[in-house]
Symmetry: C2
Subunit: 190 residues, 2 copies
């Protein structure tokens, strides 16, 4: 075997474990000890891969954010039209699905902690650009509220899917997309 017995993918595994724990328990409640235990290493080992606890959270957000930024860049290359609007929403929904409900939970439940990170400004900027692409130029506050609500629909669906009595995940995802489309299409009415 060319692979050393010592693990060399600890960093990636740590990010996966941290994502799950940060999402389900919260960032500040989750200790490095807990993450290390799940990985089968010690706290000190984690400090070889990350300089601080915040760096772990930042690394998780990095990949997710880059994905959204790519969606926006694609959309901005196309001419403004209802079709472009719809395509972006579908890509956004697919992106959310790909990253799973854990990341939606992570962002929602650790908003304050994330707000203090250097990456926060970038997140705000990117989400702003998502809204700008979907909402018409010079949109009113009410119209922008429709777009914001449309984007949160996927989060609401992801959270509902965690309940036993709200239907299966696929069904909810489909419903969320339909609802989001309805919201942005009706935006001239806002």
């Amino acid at each position: 075997m060319t692979v050393d017995s010592r693990r060399t993918d600890t960093r990636e595994r740590a990010l996966a474990v941290a994502l799950e724990l940060f999402a389900q328990q919260g960032y500040s409640v989750t200790s490095l000890r807990e993450i290390a235990e799940r990985l089968g290493v010690t706290k000190a080992a984690l400090y070889f891969h990350f300089r601080t606890k915040e760096e772990i959270l930042t690394a998780i957000l990095r990949g997710y954010l880059d994905g959204i930024a790519a969606l926006v860049a694609e959309a901005e290359a196309e001419p403004r039209s209802p079709e472009r609007q719809e395509r972006l929403l579908r890509r956004y929904a697919a992106h959310q699905e790909q990253w799973g409900s854990d990341l939606a939970l992570l962002v929602r439940q650790n908003a304050t902690e994330i707000h203090d990170l250097p990456i926060a400004a970038e997140i705000k900027e990117v989400m702003q650009s998502v809204i700008t692409v979907v909402a018409p130029p010079g949109a009113t506050a009410a119209q922008r509220l429709r777009v914001r609500t449309a984007l949160t629909t996927f989060q609401v669906a992801a959270l509902s899917a965690l309940r036993d009595d709200e239907g299966d995940e696929a069904e909810l995802r489909e419903a969320a997309l339909a609802l989001a489309l309805e919201l942005v299409r009706g935006e001239t009415a806002g």
Copy 2:
């Protein structure tokens, strides 16, 4: 003066301070020391009024929850109709406004911590009954998603109001109510 120089309203003031800090920083990040400092007392003084930190959080949620439960009870006393549905939503919006954006933030940002409290079951039950009153009996998952989204609209608006570039609070509140009504009215289409 019949009022003793020693404060006798520390409990209420503590709840107000805790609400603000829990909402803006998060429950687990906020220490009792910090709450005590803002009140001008020591940690030990807080323990005269509350047995644990969790009891503070629970006490905050208590008043809010009782308010919603009262709304539901009122609605359940009326016969099912589109008017009843709309009345409940308007009362719900007014209740959210009365409690302010801090409580919306508190619930949203400390969902996991709240989930572990004894009062969590009660909260889930009450929110469930809100949905049951608004959604038609035997509603599909998609229809219930519309109702859930309608209720979160007020939160989205409250959060948007905290931004400088999203219009003033009153404007957003009005838009949120209109959007929520649109969502529940169109529910047979879901």
